[in-house]
Symmetry: D2
Subunit: 434 residues, 4 copies
């Protein structure tokens, strides 16, 4: 039989805390899971630094990727199977895209990407199309198969139903991570009735819609997402750890650029500092590797690199206050001056950070970052946009919420010399409007 | 106020998936959690290689240690509080012992200890009594406090009630790990009614007993433990990964001893190879560090070190068959010869491994490894040993069960040269009684 | 010892699916639970006719009452205990009020109260103050104790903290029923982090407030309540059963008033038809008694009473369409005429029903039905109303939502004679805006 | 299309707390659920008097019957579908048998059957084959279909695979009730991995076997069952309520036989007292009807009927002591004499009761009540009986356990006259042996 249709002699089963079991029947899927690029996802945490706040959140992108695959498998094999609007020949491409959609994520992605100005989506494409085990497996299906998978993940694939299952405002990615992250953090948000949502999903021309009878399950999902963003993903303490992480990488780069001699040279990072990295350099990185450097760097001569590394490894994080960028920027300048006077480098020790989310959005054609809305299928066959039917979704629809914080090392402001200046800083920080 | 009784200005709360919340009021406990030796437990998985079978089991010893603390806190603050048989002055020592009982665990403890002939319990004691942040914190309570905590963990403490809460056949350690490991693996075993057990625990002279009305909850706990051991902890595939891990370390040591020149020298391991290690060397190790070496060693010249490292990192594990040591040892010798003839080094590629458990044991005075039994408190004040009342526990009591497996690289036995010999090997392995 | 402080020799424990265990230590509480008026609550379903839609929802008001008691017990014994703002002498009155707050509910309360124009709150007061076992038990505490309990339930009690725990926009009553009804129906709404909410509740002068750090748990609770109202409590099919139930009682009364001779006389109801009932008459009623009558009345000569009884007992409910009272009332008149022409009595077979809810309301002083808002306690000691801090609550705050339905027997409109008229009716009903 | 294959225009979905959703596609199943005989199961509790101990256990046989149907539907539609060993033409008969297997249960079955010497299995057969709505629906499938369904339930059906799904030592009936009863009582027993068991069930010639890889899930199921029997089903307090119930019915019959004039005549029971009942008489009974009588009988002149009714309605149950029938029967005689002397009728107020269970049994051909064992399918195709592979099951296999209790009204033995005799009784009861 051709490789695309080859089934395992015996179905493989993974025990999964979120979906109970994950089932694999296709040889292609099995081979992809066993590839080294996919196994690498075991070494990258799904929630980056969040485990420093929610100690249970130590799960990896490996688990999440299997979960997204399983949701899409249920949709394609149980829900969409046999429906005339669904093209069965898309089955394998959507399963592979689901499994591989996060393949390009690196260690502590968010911070890493910011500092080195890279994009995990590019790496995903490179892994799919470059010299990798994953690429070889996909090529065995057909010569154009790697490209198709890449297009689905890049949202440029022609069949929008397929794209929609992987990335839309209600996709398998979100449905898995909300439940999984809730499970591992232990928070009571993040629950919604996925079984119900899956059963009312319908393929329709160039989109996937939800039968109106499932509207309340969708509302619950939107609210879950909202709570998870503000309670878990944007938690200010996890962001404090990210701030420090960025500062470690920034400092190491600066030192490298300035010719500083490391006791422990940043071998794995050098190509990134120099922007000469290859895919191989990227794949050699993971969170264990980065943490190994940070532990070694705690002993570097450079006091900033050493201190920042120690802070991250031993969880000695920055404190924070709310911050209103509209009116507080001048104050921020004053604070920076005071930090300098107090002998604390504000480039590293006074950091503003913002984060923002749009809980749900209806369609705003032509606007930047436009998002496809969730469409409900009415009993009479009409299609209606979710926020037109749901009072609760309407209430939060299109309302972007942003949170600004200013991070600093509280304990440095109480001890030692230059007491007067430090006291002045503390007073300014207390005032609220930084 | 003295440090031992110092309370936090505001109670600290950890969200925990197993116990919902973990509460910290004592300054001592808070300081211990923030020590670098305790934070290090975040970098050591609770279940070692089990995540390669149960992908959800990526949780750390940090989480488990908090969990054991919380259970003991509930017992001492809610259940035992105010009972005349319980000495309130033991509260802090039992809380600290609960929190710190696993402090000496290293990366992939089981394998590491076997290869380097070390014992995590010794390291725990060294951390408590040596030059560490934890030691300094404990010393602030009183000069003899570190030693008291160490004695509780070593089971030599005079108050046996205290010892019993941390290590007995029904202790906070087991109650936490059964539930926690079940939660993270997602298996349906591991559940029992801990709230019930806690409510029927009673301090009594020199032991902790269970009111007879809670017997069925205890039965359920014993059964849970039994299932977890055989379904999770002794899973043959996780043991395959451990076998490989041991072989990596063994090979690296051999190469080191023989003067082999490593492309990536085993800096972190050298002191262990030479048995010249200090506590500092030990604390510098964690699973991220070890994995970083293994990834680098995939490129070593030595084919065995390189292959074994690749197998572990990319989860290319050994296959296994059952093995009866009573009658199959001669066969094992024959197999080893055949492996050599086939050009496969049996010292690394043909490995027998056994594991064994005693689900529950009544008291066998004088016997090796004697265990204190679980005692039930009858309504009339009598004490009876569990297996005398419980038919189910009686049925499995004292019955040791052992599992023997023989591990080998199945894929090397099908490909390439020396087909006849390999086929002979395969036949022998198939016969079952290898 | 005086009765108010008398403790049970051994704590009593109820296994509860929602709160795991319910603990009783006070002799007063134990005696109240064993009183005949409280045991009667076992014979009245918590959710009336909802079990005809959600078959799992067969739980009684007995379970709910124990649950409310347990929540208040935890608040008073664990959370508020020892706080200077909380008056410990209120403990027993608030526990009793929690346990007894629903004592006056009758069978299928909602419908029964509507038809007979009675109010369960009056019955609760009568049971507390009249010739009952409950009254005798409360009197043993002190002569004014029954009255105090009644005042708490009637919200006229002087200590508003106490009232607030039993009836406010975030009280023990709501917290229990949301979770309990979610559990028994099996829906995925209704979950929120009660442990968190309880831990951040604070007594304060004349109210109970929530620490601002718990705001998101409160948001989740408000959203849960919203979903439960629209998904469960207002389910149109359960309302169909209520419509029929009202029509049975209405018909029986009409027949009774007109001197109809019942084969099975409505002995238990007669005093209600004549408005000559006593408390004893009321307490003799429960859902088993009412169902017994309905089953006997299926054999009555009167075709409407017989048909309606059969519909209720055997779940042959009315169909429904949406209905807009603003513009459809004239149509409703036309429909009634057509029903008459078709030989179907519109007084019984064409019924409009509406239901409505206000998910949360801030304080609108002076307005009808004003509700106390939820107040958050800020870190600096300020008090802020919830909807001023929560974007999501603000979005739904004060927005009343009402649902109108028109109920009718669909199967009578397709069969038999007068086809043309019936077809006309069906067309009108289909038009949507009936 | 013929009725047997007729599908609903739209799948019907029931929300179920245990199985999440129950799916109905077949017109036959839908019609059966809506029949009056099936709706009647809503008025009969699944666990009889257990709700008087576990207040949450108020669920009905209706819920359980839907649950058994759903499990069998999953097996036939998902697991067995397409396997050559499974005959697809059996699908409808096994679904109907699953749904209807408990149809003949009456109110408080256990006690009712004992007193009136009837058997619910006969009533099930009568409902399937007699003049009922259910019968008419089944007849529409085919003339021999009612008989086939009855045979499956009676275990005489030729296809033993079909019988085995409904009644064997691991059948859909047990799998539903263990989980459901655990859910509603709230106990922590009763959980096992049903999804795993269903996935490893295999049809095989004339039986259903379990793949050996699922052995541990089966062990867990056997242990769950064991715990549920002793913790829930045989709870001595629920048995106390049953004892009283039997005594009410026995007394009413005695009074009826002796010509006693009831204030409230036992109309619904008369045909049972006289053994002249028809199926219609039986179907007119339910627990609401019985409770209505008991409430009325609390006011009868006969002190025993009145007292017993009051005890049941208001939960004033008998106390109990252990009792060893082997050696205590003489003592029982002495006690009876003393009761008489004390003026308490021992026929009603001194009742011995026993209950017994065999947790699992292997095959004992020729023995009374032989049970089919659970067979495991080995990887090599062999079949092995469960207890030969499972150490834990082996340990409890074939071991019958019986519990004897003696019930009496403790409060009558402390109050009032004849103190000396009563004290003597109390002493004897305390001695343990009785």
């Amino acid at each position: 039989m051709d490789y695309a249709n080859q089934k395992l002699a015996e179905e493989k089963v993974f025990k999964d805390p979120v979906h109970r079991y994950i089932y694999v029947r296709d040889q292609v899927i099995w081979d992809l899971i066993n590839s080294r690029e996919f196994q690498r996802l075991r070494r990258i945490k799904q929630l980056g630094t969040s485990y420093l706040v929610f100690h249970g959140a130590e799960h990896s992108r490996f688990s999440h990727s299997l979960g997204v695959y399983e949701i899409v498998r249920r949709i394609s094999d149980d829900m969409f199977h046999g429906r005339p609007e669904w093209d069965e020949s898309e089955r394998l491409v959507v399963l592979c895209a689901a499994l591989l959609h996060d393949l390009g994520h690196g260690p502590f992605s968010h911070s890493f990407e910011k500092v080195f100005n890279v994009d995990h989506e590019n790496f995903t494409r490179e892994i799919l199309l470059g010299d990798t085990e994953v690429h070889q497996i996909l090529m065995k299906v057909s010569a154009d198969f790697p490209k198709k998978v890449a297009e689905v993940i890049a949202k440029t694939y022609s069949n929008k139903q397929v794209v929609s299952l992987i990335s839309s405002q209600i996709d398998a990615d979100r449905m898995d991570y909300l439940q999984r992250d809730a499970y591992y953090t232990g928070v009571s948000y993040g629950h919604f009735d996925m079984e119900r949502i899956l059963r009312v999903m319908r393929p329709l021309e160039d989109q996937v819609v939800i039968k109106a009878s499932g509207m309340h399950a969708v509302e619950d999902y939107i609210m879950s997402r909202y709570q998870m963003y503000w309670q878990v993903y944007f938690h200010p303490v996890a962001r404090s750890a990210e701030v420090i992480l960025r500062k470690i990488l920034q400092r190491a780069k600066e030192l490298h650029d300035s010719g500083y001699e490391f006791a422990q040279p940043p071998t794995h990072f050098a190509a990134f500092f120099d922007r000469s990295f290859t895919l191989k350099d990227y794949l050699a990185l993971d969170e264990g590797v980065m943490m190994t450097y940070f532990q070694l760097w705690m002993n570097e001569r450079d006091p900033i690199l050493s201190d920042m590394s120690d802070r991250f490894v031993n969880r000695r994080l920055f404190q924070y206050v709310d911050f209103d960028p509209g009116k507080d920027y001048r104050k921020l300048g004053e604070l920076a001056s005071l930090f300098k006077k107090a002998g604390i480098d504000p480039d590293y020790y006074l950091v503003d950070d913002s984060t923002s989310d749009l809980p749900y959005d209806f369609y705003r054609p032509g606007e930047e970052g436009e998002r496809l809305p969730i469409h409900l299928l009415m009993p009479n066959g009409d299609i209606k946009e979710l926020s037109r039917l749901s009072q609760i979704v309407e209430a939060i629809s299109g309302k972007r919420r942003t949170d600004y914080k200013l991070y600093f090392p509280a304990e440095l402001l109480v001890d030692g010399k230059k007491k007067a200046i430090k006291q002045q800083i503390v007073e300014m920080l207390k005032e609220g409007g930084v």
